[in-house]
């Protein structure tokens, strides 16, 4: 992920620290690999912030075979992080024929054909909540006082301007201009 932080009227400290905050926040939320470019504009004098995130490739869906190891009439969970989602998916598909016998063991009463099919079931698709996670990240990056938000729609990017004061037309048009110049440059 590439991060550009542009600061108007603030010192160098704010620039470097916010670049780090961007990187770390998106990494904590596990969306760093899905973001191509982040642009952050900070103007503390007028208390105005603009963040624009370009979404890139999304990781492929996680299937049952990625998080379990098949045994005879059993599935052994190898990645416990996905255990609740895995159980929900299996129960939805096979109902009472699926039983959790131990912390990391799932008992199955399935036909041979079903046993093959079960491995291809999708446990979790990162695409599902990608936007929600990116928005959560944006919320954590922008200063808490900047509660007035205004989104600028564009096909490839999520762009939000934020301030503690009402956002006037002047800033909305200026932000749209900024967005155009980012899109042509990146």
């Amino acid at each position: 992920m590439e991060v550009t932080v542009e600061v108007e009227g603030a010192d160098e400290f704010a620039t470097t620290s916010y670049a780090k905050i961007c990187q770390d926040t998106f990494r904590d939320l596990g969306v760093r690999t899905s973001i191509d470019h982040t642009y952050l504009y900070i103007n503390p004098q007028e208390h105005l912030f603009l963040i624009s995130v370009k979404i890139g490739r999304v990781a492929s869906p996680i299937k049952v075979r990625d998080v379990t190891q098949p045994e005879i009439d059993k599935l052994k969970i190898t990645d416990e992080k996905y255990a609740p989602k895995l159980l929900a998916v299996l129960w939805d598909a096979y109902g009472e024929r699926v039983q959790q016998v131990g912390r990391l063991e799932i008992g199955l009463k399935l036909t041979d054909k079903e046993t093959e099919a079960v491995k291809e079931l999708i446990v979790y698709d990162p695409r599902e909540d990608l936007i929600a996670r990116i928005l959560d990240g944006i919320d954590r990056i922008l200063p808490e006082g900047a509660r007035v938000r205004y989104p600028i729609p564009s096909p490839e990017r999520i762009t939000i301007i934020a301030s503690e004061n009402p956002i006037g037309e002047e800033w909305k048009t200026r932000a749209a201009d900024m967005l155009r110049s980012i899109e042509t440059n990146v």
């Binding site: 400290f13 926040t25 208390h47």
Partner: protein
Amino acid sequence: MFEGGVYKFNELKELVEDLGGFIIQELVMQTDTILHMAFPVEDEREIREKVKELGGKLIDLPLAGTEIMIVTPSLGKHHAVNPLCDIGEYLRRKGAITNIMGLARGVGKRIAQITREEKRIMEECDAVIFVVGNFRECIEAKLNIFEVINVPYLIVGGPPKLECEHYVGGIGRRTDRMRRKEEFDKLEEMTTKLGEILDEKRKEVEEDPLAASPLFIKELIELVIPPIPGEELPIVIHIDGLRLNIEEQDEPRIRNIEVGKKKLGEICEITKSLYKGYLLKILPEAVTGSVFY
């Protein structure tokens, strides 16, 4: 501070008391013991020898006997857990009792404010640390809302330098723990500065001495209401008073404790804390007269 095992640990306590010192705080966790104590400087050698005999460690605590409030604009993800808890932990290691407080409307630049009740809660403590963010402009705008606080305060923020007397820079908003050497140096710098402003307050108290020392009153209270084993911090020492975690029905008993020839109620202002327990503010000797005549 004594850090060691429980073996013969009572002997150390008795020695401190025999020498005219006080136990500020005692914490026994299974076999580990932490003891905050105050004793006359000339007896340090004797105490050190005893500690060595018990196989423990003796650590100097510059902030012992103080209660510090760490205030942040909010308790959201932006400020907690980092660096708020790092600051709190470091101060506790230096002997202070710390509280963490998030303001109701402390965020932002123009919109930031401190309510009257928040101000009163902050003023119950010996000193306040304001943890702020990374923008110089925002911190400068907030300086005037911090000015109303009537206890010593320190502002801890991001920009390395700021035109403010009580400011320590280089901490600010963070996304990770403070565990590198230069970050510890920053925390140390903050503690030193806090120690300085607390020393100023101590000096003020020395110039106009209190009717009795908070440590002395703590011992008297413990004779009347013995601490419940396992209870955390029943009595917190302040520079000019105490915070007591007592039930409401015990208040008259506290007022009637005899300190020399006077009652505790006569030499202290006893008020219910907005935050926790009761507050005892010890009046100066000049107001109450000596407790011994």
